[in-house]
Symmetry: C2
Subunit: 220 residues, 2 copies
């Protein structure tokens, strides 16, 4: 139903969130929900929800609401939660190791089939049952296996060149953890995770809150 | 100048990005830039940039563009990059250890002053020069030190109760890594990092790309 319809990136980026909330509702044995109730839980407007869910067929029925399970399954299908992706981790430092040990990704179909580094202290080490290989072996490795996604956990300066290299060898999806909006010459899909941006926003919001609290306190 | 003006969250969330791009420009010795050039680099419209930067005074001069260094400094001031925050990490598993070892946060003024866990295999262990303390010691710990931010890297089910606990003891900022939109009863600032959401979006976009590539190939 949704396969050939163009869904905007803004909607796509909200889908995992719908998926999480619907999963929670299922766990609570809630089988139907109105856009209004869902709106209150999620903190987005009911009209936004109706508009979003209309994008892929809209499963709401006037006066009944949404069937939680079928909506959950449909969003899961759109997101491809039953698809399988072969993933490699590039960079076996702190973040690479954290990702390698994070079991949730495998549950979601992202199978980590290789971990690479150049640091002799890390190459050969076993992380979550997988031996870290030298990045020099990557070219041979990809000849024998399809690799869909590379998780980039290499140092900042090396990120663009490593990304170019693996993209030139056929990797089509990059998950970048360096604090940059990665751009490369190859036609690939890149998602950036900006941890520092998130922390800076937290710092800003916290500072504003403390300032307002202090003002309110002074007025008492 | 900007201290008392209300800046929308949407603008705030873009500020770290401006900050990164301006930092790169400074490194390249570029001292002025037009909204059009910045727009091309950042992939957002020039009018959006002008509108955003107008929110806090607007440093552009007609026909000259923006002074990179003063814009960089002003955004840095707004974001509070020179402010200092005392941070604890709750949960010394994979993600907690990765964050503890991530030196960039300290450079940005987020000083990690304590790491806590309940797992006897982790308590007492040293991570980046800091001994992991038992979470039971947290209440005593916070009596003697101001803690601004808790980075929550505890298991999913425990996240809400741990968040309530530390908020009740006075922590005002929470950086949550569990795949949920954390809500608690206390008046605190919460930023959620949704790694799984990001990975699911990457999976979706990649699947769409491969589908389109295959269609284009079939038409040849």
């Amino acid at each position: 139903m949704s396969g050939n319809k163009k869904i905007s990136m803004a909607v796509i980026r909200r889908l995992p969130r719908y998926y999480r909330y619907l999963s929670d509702l299922l766990k609570m044995d809630i089988s139907k929900i109105s856009s209004k109730e869902l709106s209150q839980r999620m903190g987005i407007t009911a009209s936004q929800i109706r508009q979003d869910l209309n994008c892929f067929g809209g499963f709401g029925q006037q006066g009944y609401g949404y069937n939680v399970e079928s909506l959950f399954n449909e969003i899961g299908n759109i997101l491809g939660v039953n698809d399988k992706f072969n993933v490699v981790i590039l960079g076996a430092g702190n973040m690479g190791q954290a990702l390698a040990n994070y079991s949730n990704f495998e549950k979601r179909g992202f199978n980590i089939i290789g971990i690479f580094d150049v640091n002799p202290d890390l190459v050969g080490k076993e992380i979550n049952g997988k031996k870290v290989l030298h990045f020099d072996e990557f070219e041979e490795f990809i000849k024998n296996k399809r690799i869909d996604i590379a998780m980039l956990c290499v140092p900042y300066e090396k990120t663009p060149s490593v990304a170019e290299k693996v993209a030139s060898l056929g990797v089509k999806g990059l998950w970048n953890f360096s604090p940059m909006d990665l751009k490369i010459s190859h036609d690939v899909i890149i998602e950036n995770v900006h941890l520092s941006d998130s922390l800076m926003v937290l710092g800003y919001r916290l500072k504003e809150k403390l300032r307002k609290d202090a003002l309110a306190e002074a007025k008492k």
